[in-house]
Amino acid sequence: MNSAVQPALDAPRGTQLSPEQRALVLRLAVLGLLGLALTLASQAFLTPGNLLNVLRQASLMFLLASGLTLVILCGGLDLSIGANVALSACLAGTVIQGTGSVLLGCAVGAGCGLAIGVLNGLMVTALRIPPFIATYGMLWILHGVTYWFMNGETIHGFPPAFRALGSGYFAGVPLPVYLMLAVLLVGTVLMQYTTWGQEVYATGANTEAAELSGVPVFARRLAVYAASGLMGGLASLVFLARLNSAEGDMGESLTLQAIAAVLIGGTSLFGGTGTLVGTLIGALILTVVLNGMNLLSVSANWQPLITGVIVILSVLSDAMARKRHGG
């Protein structure tokens, strides 16, 4: 909501870009520099195969992070999405193998994600539990249920028609990339060009002011958690199709990565600012970093450390920027 005021303040300096556009350009520059550095460091980076792989990984991360972006925009947080992916994928996998019906499996996976999202939303809105602790409790409940349900077993081997969702190509581009573009398009139109989206921004920027000006805060907050849950369910299907197997601990590192992608993308934890395009760039940056570590044969043990440091640095820069703008 500050963005309406900012350009007018910055205009005399002679720049045509709004602060949000500047931030996007900055992030693209970071992405470009990372790409350049990795091209120089490893011959394997700038090959079509690897770039497509990066794009596919980034699409998966974006699918997961897109719903989370809305939640954080709205001033909340969803720590349960990694666990949501695990449970949704395990349920969907079991149904696909049990009934042989891909469609039913997909419906169960997406429905499970949505149900978790709605539960999160109800805990935050109706029960008024602080979002981070409500979704953190949900994380452990889901972990417990998933481990209990799987009983330490792994399901693998799914029909090719389903696996195409994660590893198939259309016109030389991986299928998840199209999914990502579709979500990006629908989400951006929804957030930027509809009243609904603007109400979500308003709720995140200042809940009390939004409530006083007639925004149905309760419904908007419930809806963003539901969206985050649904995206978790959809992402779980793509993960399942990509990995071709499901087990209890599959989503453990994903929550931190998704939060990192959203925060690198410039969505503020303090609510009210951020875009889905930013989150896409954030997902790309994080994927390129992880891909680079892989190409340079850095042990996967370093991944949580790097992701954690990235999360802290992004929050830090967000807070510094707010201080500079007097926010």
């Binding site: 602790i133 417990g144 209990w148 370093w302």
Partner: protein
């Protein structure tokens, strides 16, 4: 009739006993109920050996839950404790094996815990960052460091003398119980009998008032998170002795049990209300629940989910109380 009732209600002793009844409710009732149910459904629950086991298992949790109470009182949260504790068991084991000295190993683990605690506190206090995201970041950092330091494996071969800290006893009381009791007393003194303690309550209940009074909240916040680090360092001594080595995922998720204990113990997440005795009861509730489900041969996944449900229920009650 009405007058008589009013008279009774206004009499001080009646009000006091009502308040007592009210303060007992929650964690204590839950604990009593759990003990009753478990002693009815499984005969092993009430055995001396099992109750001793519950107390012993509760010590490490208490060491995390006590400082977590202070952190939550300041409207904060520390999600990194479990990962940090795992990291410290690795540091303790690696340094102990390299130098042959338990004291050096423990010092290194304590130092690592204090540094991470200080990092949490500094980021939260100096830059006004949201605690749950900062500590989620340091959770990743600690977990990564632990995996890298231990190369993903269990570090074995620590000195046998270390086991005394888990299995030994002094004056007939087990060593871990001594440590838990001493830390409880120390933190109790700190919270209820020092100016720092008063600030901890004010940080959650009335931060603006502190600012207007010109009292710097930053240092108090830093100390609160460093206290968390210190207690994790102490817990690492018990944990390493218990598992007889270091493991990079030894205590993953233990922060959730600690948060659960604090929530069940009646400490509010927004308003600076609550206290240590509730947390001790909360630790017993979580401990008894896990122990009882274990005796009923429920897998740890079911235990985790059950703790999660209890946490949500406790927070719901807390939120409802805050509204009224």
């Amino acid at each position: 009739m009405d007058d008589a009732l009013q008279l009774v209600a206004s009499s001080r002793r009646w009000r006091w006993s009502l308040r007592l009844l009210h303060s007992i409710s929650g964690a204590a009732w839950l604990l009593a109920l759990l003990c009753l149910v478990f002693s009815l459904v499984t005969p092993d629950f009430l055995s001396g050996a099992n109750l001793r086991n519950v107390l012993l298992q509760g010590t490490i949790l208490l060491l995390l839950a006590l400082p977590m109470t202070l952190i939550i009182l300041t409207e904060g949260l520390d999600l990194s404790m479990g990962a940090l504790l795992s990291l410290c068991t690795v540091v303790l084991a690696v340094v102990q094996i390299a130098t042959g000295s338990i004291l050096l190993g423990f010092s290194a683990a304590l130092l690592a815990a204090l540094v991470m605690g200080a990092a949490n506190g500094a980021l939260i206090a100096a830059f006004d960052l949201p605690p749950f995201v900062v500590t989620l970041g340091t959770l990743g950092a600690a977990q990564g460091l632990a995996l890298v330091a231990a190369e993903g494996r269990t570090t074995m071969g620590v000195a046998q003398g270390l086991r005394w800290f888990w299995e030994g006893s002094l004056l007939g009381v087990a060593a871990p119980l001594w440590m838990a009791a001493l830390v409880w007393v120390a933190i109790h003194m700190l919270l209820y009998h020092t100016r720092f303690g008063g600030r901890v309550f004010a940080l959650g209940g009335n931060r603006e008032a502190l600012r207007f009074a010109g009292i710097s909240v930053k240092w108090s916040l830093l100390w609160v998170y460093m206290l968390g680090g210190a207690c994790v360092g102490l817990a690492a001594l018990l944990m390493t002795a218990r598992i007889n080595g270091g493991h990079p995922t030894a205590a993953i998720g233990l922060e959730f049990d600690a948060i659960a204990a604090v929530a069940v113990g009646g400490t509010a997440f927004e308003r600076g209300k609550g206290g240590l005795s509730g947390t001790v009861l909360g630790v017993l509730v979580v401990g008894v629940m896990r122990n009882g489900l274990n005796l009923l041969s429920m897998p740890s996944s079911v235990q985790v989910a059950a703790v999660g449900v209890v946490v949500i229920a406790a927070l719901w009650v807390d939120a409802a109380r805050g509204r009224s």
